[in-house]
């Protein structure tokens, strides 16, 4: 599903912050991406999400060499990827329901066709009573759950999550992890970038550890 070969990344003329990355993300797999702060976890997620292009090497996503993709093809590929960012990126003028339903809306689906799915997912992540709230009045944890719901609602083939349990209590953290595991069981490959050892200890999964720009894989 994802293949990196000798991938390097640098910003501008700065030093290479990701070096010689060689790995694969198989379909239906589950992995944690970890490493110290500044190791390049977010940059690697951005490479996987096609919002950055590598400065060298080959990135192959869903069978496509990303260096050959035009903007429309990138947009099509992104419909198959869900992403949860640390700063949530919710739209402040839309209700929680509308934010979560946004991927369906962009696909051009009628609201009646996805209403049930959105409501059920919002209830599952504990936002059933906050569907009509606007993001500015949500707490950090609620925003995070809304962002996760938006990333998983369209059942992506690949889910990328950057510190998805960073703002929630341990109970809710476990609940969200269960959501990711359910999603993975239904066929989505999941990559969770986290510092949270407790979270990683709760589920036996492959670990990708970034250290000084290089990736070490623990199966």
């Amino acid at each position: 599903m994802v293949r990196f070969e000798n991938v390097g990344l640098r910003y501008g003329l700065g030093p290479e912050i990701l070096r010689d990355l060689n790995f694969q993300i198989p379909a239906h797999s589950f992995q944690f991406l970890t490493g110290p702060s500044g190791a390049g976890k977010t940059s690697l997620l951005r490479l996987l999400f096609l919002s950055l292009r590598p400065t060298r090497g080959l990135v192959n996503l869903f069978g496509h060499d990303v260096s050959l993709l035009d903007k429309d093809a990138v947009a099509d590929l992104r419909k198959r990827i869900g992403i949860v960012l640390q700063d949530f990126r919710l739209l402040d003028h839309m209700t929680t329901y509308e934010n979560v339903a946004l991927p369906f809306r962009v696909m051009g689906r009628a609201e009646s066709s996805y209403r049930r799915e959105v409501i059920d997912l919002l209830k599952w992540v504990g936002l059933g009573e906050r569907m009509d709230a606007l993001p500015p009045v949500l707490s950090g944890g609620e925003k995070q759950r809304a962002a996760i719901a938006r990333a998983v609602i369209s059942r992506p083939h690949l889910l990328l999550a950057d510190e998805p349990t960073g703002n929630v209590d341990p109970t809710l953290g476990r609940r969200l992890l269960r959501l990711f595991i359910e999603l993975n069981k239904s066929g989505t490959a999941v990559i969770i970038a986290t510092h949270d050892i407790t979270l990683m200890d709760q589920y036996d999964a492959r670990r990708l550890v970034l250290h000084q720009g290089r990736l070490h894989i623990y199966e």
Partner: protein, 323 residues
């Protein structure tokens, strides 16, 4: 490429435990909020531009119509001047010329100015009470040409000079040519002003679009995250700009139409006064024909289309930078 993943069933199904969505939760807010676009300023700019463009077009149409009217009036007449020459009887020469003109094909009426009428023509320069017998005043003969007739001017000239050697024929061609150049210059200036107005509109709209895109950059980024293509995003913005351009265009066009209607009324009030006559001489009746109003309406649609085009062009250029 396989698009989307919505064919893989639902993630979870709560069945009867499913809560109701409050109506305002799924009210489907616009993806790009209208308030986030500095619309009022753009509407005013487009309205002013449309007003200026409409006034320019209207004035060009008025001048063009008046000039065409003058030309057709002037072109349907020729003037023969008979100068007094020692040893010749000017009255006999005038009669001979009149008779000669009447036999010419295409001439429908010939009217010689009497000595008194010639005196009246000179009154503004020479004053009244002057005996014209003491002055060598030339005599004018005006001949009406039947519309659409092409006169053999050289033949006419030689015929007239045969009967009266001191006569000269003027078909006003030089004056008509000058009139044509003036009308052409007016239309050219009008097109130049229109081009400048449209250019200024494009620049204003481009700036407004850039401003709106900068203000809504977070929205654009989120839309990219959820897989929206540039065309989808551009269309969300474009519908706002189309509306703003159309609103501004209609306001500017209606204001210009009202101005022309009002000017027509004012021209009617001043009709008969020296000022009114001067204006009437320059711009005719100062009233736009229905086709003129249609031209202004068509121009408004053109400006709305230019607004949409400029906005679309800027949107795609900016989206290229944002990703």
């Amino acid at each position: 490429m396989n698009k989307g993943s919505d064919d893989r069933g639902v993630l979870m199904d709560l069945g009867r435990e499913r809560p109701q969505v409050p109506a305002r939760a799924r009210n489907m807010s616009p993806i790009v909020p209208r308030a986030s676009i500095a619309g009022r300023a753009l509407v005013v700019v487009v309205a002013i531009m449309t007003f200026l463009a409409s006034v320019t077009t209207g004035v060009v149409l008025l001048v063009g119509a008046s000039a065409a009217e003058w030309q057709s009036e002037v072109a349907s007449e020729i003037t023969i001047q008979v100068r007094p020459v020692t040893g010749r009887d000017i009255e006999r020469d005038v009669t001979a010329v009149v008779n000669a003109m009447r036999t010419q094909p295409g001439i429908v009426d010939v009217r010689p100015y009497t000595k008194e009428e010639s005196g009246k023509l000179l009154e503004p320069w020479l004053g009244t009470g002057l005996s014209l017998d003491e002055l060598p005043v030339p005599r004018m003969i005006v001949a009406q040409v039947s519309p659409g007739t092409k006169l053999d001017l050289d033949g006419l000239r030689s015929h007239v000079t045969q009967v009266a050697p001191s006569a000269s024929v003027d078909d006003h061609r030089a004056w008509i040519d000058r009139m044509r150049s003036m009308t052409g210059a007016t239309v050219f200036a009008g097109i130049g002003i229109l081009a400048l107005v449209i250019l200024a509109t494009i620049i204003s709209v481009s700036f407004a679009t850039r401003g709106a895109m900068a203000a809504n950059r977070p929205i654009v980024e989120v839309l990219h995250f959820v897989g929206a293509g540039d065309r989808y995003i551009a269309n969300r913005f474009l519908r706002h700009f189309l509306r703003l351009g159309f609103e501004g265009g209609v306001i500017g066009c209606v204001a210009a139409m009202l101005m022309f209607g009002f000017s027509e009324s004012v021209a009617n009030w001043f009709s008969g006064t020296p000022v009114g006559d001067q204006f009437a001489a320059l711009l005719g009746t100062f009233s736009l024909r229905p086709s003129g109003y249609l031209a202004l309406a068509a121009q408004t649609i053109l400006i709305a289309a230019v607004t949409a085009w400029a906005s679309r062009r800027t949107l795609f250029a900016t989206l290229d930078d944002i990703d």
